[in-house]
Subunit: 160 residues, 3 copies
């Protein structure tokens, strides 16, 4: 075990939970830790590109439906509480901005600069029909085996 | 500490989170890890028998009410997001099936074959009025002390 | 690493999840563990004073709004599931009381007597506009760096 490794499973696609995940990840990376974030299920929304991308794979009707309804990237995520039909997140962002908290987009960029490893769960991609082009470029792709290998080497493993 | 032990608290009774928990658990067990899953609060729904079982204990009116409203087993769980009044889970299952993902029922069966220890939280059973007959047969029953004992010996401890 | 340290991030402001967090925390503390709980985002509701407190800092309109909508302390929290417009938590408390489960207020008091360290996330306080007077007295205040320092010394780190 190595006290300088951390893993975070980002299962949630909520703005507030994604913020928490990236604040922890960038904080740990700033302290020199090796951090790996696994994006699975709804968490794939967090690393989705904001623009509409033509998927290289063929999507089933259900996959198209999930794809249409899942938010396209950090700018479109809702709050886990007090979402008010989508109004909650913009209000939360406004109050965060006035307190000089980094935006989620900035936190993601910072995480990448710091070397935080972003990993998309391949099984979730398969099920929900996301192709690589629809997610952020230059990330990693792996399954539960890789997660468990990483978790075994880490001393902090969170599920968010 | 032993790198081959894992614990997962399954607090959630959502289909998608239960899937995540069992994918991690069965993955770890397949790699030779000793995995213990503690089902507490809404998580008891996941290990509930699908059929209506006459409870051996007397239930209060409130317990009967919670019992009636909590889903009976993996087949009845809803999604944590995009549940659409219950339609979300069947659609998710359909898309999972078409991608050859094991069903939650199959994952639970696999977990048991692999020796994953399923533990029902006795305090939650007491509060929500679940008797042993209402839950899967041949599981374990324990409280927070046993959980903490297990977590102390494990290197990955998740709360889902 | 020290097997007698535990950390819990309490991100959720739901009654049932707060109960789970404090049952684990007081259980671990009773077994001699050093437990630190970090209250962040909605979790600040759990350590909020029940009475209306005149904040020492000036709140923006948005902060006042979040302050008005976020529950004031353990007595006002809702359930994460089956909340029924606020009726779920009182019913859950009633059934818990009839089974001699400690109330959330009692669990918090017990945690404090046992020496569980309650820490409010300063960034969340800043963003949501909570001053120290609005939260429980004699708690600690810290940021993500302190959390990570604590997590590095602990053998169980949960995100609830």
């Amino acid at each position: 075990m190595d006290t300088t490794k951390k893993t975070i499973i980002v299962f949630s696609g909520d703005f507030d939970k994604a913020m928490a995940a990236f604040i922890i990840a960038t904080g740990a990376a700033a302290m020199g830790d090796e951090v790996t974030m696994f994006f699975t299920f709804w968490g794939l929304s967090v690393i989705r590109k904001p623009e509409k991308v033509r998927s290289s794979g063929k999507k089933s009707i259900l996959q198209s439906m999930f794809g249409k309804m899942m938010p396209r990237g950090p700018g479109k995520l809702g709050l886990s509480k007090m979402n008010f039909g989508g109004m909650g997140a913009p209000l939360m962002k406004k109050v965060m901005k006035s307190h000089n908290v980094m935006t989620l987009e900035e936190l993601i960029a910072t995480a990448r600069e710091e070397g935080v490893k972003l990993v998309a769960c391949t099984m979730s991609m398969d099920v929900l029909g996301f192709s690589k082009e629809e997610l952020l470029d230059d990330i990693d792709y792996a399954g539960v085996g890789a997660y468990l290998g990483g978790a075994d080497e880490a001393n902090v493993n969170l599920f968010i």
